[in-house]
Amino acid sequence: MARFHDLEVTDIHKTIRDAVVVTLKPVNGAAEEFDFTQGQYLTFRQDFDGEELRRSYSICAGKDEGILQVGIKRVDGGAFSTWANEELKVGDTLQAMPPMGGFFTALDAANEKQYLGFAGGSGITPVLSILKTTLAQEPNSTFTLVYANKGVNTIMFREELEDLKNTYMGRFNVIHVLEADAQEIDLFTGLVTEEKCAQLFKTGWIDITSVDTAFICGPEPMMLGIASALRAHGLDDAQIKFELFASSQPGRAKKKAVSKDAASGANQATAAITLDGSTQTIQMPKDETILDAALAGNMDAPYACKAGVCSTCRCRVLEGEVEMVANHALEDYEVEKGYVLSCQSYPVTDNVVVDFDQ
């Protein structure tokens, strides 16, 4: 299982007003673990008011740059991204798991491929890593980037992209599509939708017939629109690589409320179990697991191994207390938030409230 390692912040600078680029150096001999593949992400953890928060950010460095770098755009109300943008400084230590994710294709110097990338806002980070690495390692391949932003001043890595255009003249092209700022060419104004893509293909800005692989990273509606345009123009699912970016990460978890009425000794407990939006209240003996009680109540509760290994049966205790006798799957921070493996959990208090939907 992946574990967290310490990383030292060796550089931090703004790329636009509300986004920072953070350079990190693994310490304690963990450098090898952080040998990433272009397009992968790091998952960080950080305590906020005593509660651990985890956030994933994509690596924006190319493989051949010899550095580990992530881009973090501040989102409104986002504890981690705000902290990273306003308080994080050189010399600080961050904790992250080794790189994960499969948003890449294998590179080969002999390839002569045409790649197409779509990025929306901070979705540029993994795409930037991919295009820098690809252009450096496949001298006969080309890369076209369609980059969607609100306006000129929210374009992350704008200068770096200009530099890359000069370095890889004829092999790298960027099309900036801006939502709010008018551009000389009408086509480059507005949102990157299915129709916009179709127009880019039709007008010859992008030769879709020769594209080998497309990478898409951005908000949900944009990804759907682009993907359906690509499929309509002959790309199959194996040629389209997605990375759904951080906007969809779950918000901050609330503390679990512990009901004050403690155990009263009798062997019976009342369990209110929520699954797929409906709640059943079940009388159960305290020597039965929450999962078995739910199944006995004809609820279609999820499970697989019943041995505390796979975590399929995970649920969250909202009230009361349960005892989890074995846990080989949940991590400490999940347990702190009240998550338990229902196949291993027995009620301790007379009343428990658990939820499989959280």
Partner: protein, 252 residues
Amino acid sequence: MTEEMSLDSYLAQGGVLTNPMNVPPRYRAELMKLMTTFVDSELAGAAGFADVINAGPGIKERIAAAKIVLEKTDNANRVLKVMGEFGVDGDRYANHHPWTARLDRDADIGASRTDHDMRLAVFNYPLNGWSDAVVMNLLMGRAVAVQMAEFSMVSYQPLAEAFRAIAPIEARHAELAEEGLTKLVEGGNADGLQASVDYWWPRVAASFGAADSTKADSLKKMGLRKSTNAELRTRWEAEAKTVLDKLGLKAG
């Protein structure tokens, strides 16, 4: 850029998820079930088939059987790796259960699972010698091909990619079984082979799940299924029947 869209409607419209961080709880549970079902079936299938290697009548057959055992275990490992990103300890998982365990050949469990693993019901029945194993492998191999085509389109991209890599390997296993069965048919004993077909046909058919599954709709909305159980089974029946017809055997 700023339009809001709920994950539910994103998924319902064919969107894909790409890492454990953006997977909602109920989706996570159904995805884990899908993965454990595959892993348990592969591990149980490989474990059962391992016992049959020595029954192979010639070295070619034994090589084919050993290759199938190796590759099914490897395919389980590919999906275990995806489970690992959700916190599952793959090493422990692979050893938490006796995968060779089987019920009686006459046990009647329909499509139900045993209490302690998620292998498809069909993998709870013991193989009865070499030719029986070849027949089972052919029928189940064709079923896996249908299921892989379906699951290569699941909305969790890392798993879809794992299944796309696995699909051609599993397809080759069905081909090996067909070659093996062709040889057995040429060697006679059509009655024994037909008996094996009659035994395995309804059990493999049941592995597609109940026709009246209440889950189908919600799984479809999550992008974890495209076709219904009945549609997949019908597809398998047609394909498997064609292969059996060619060999002069009767579908169940």
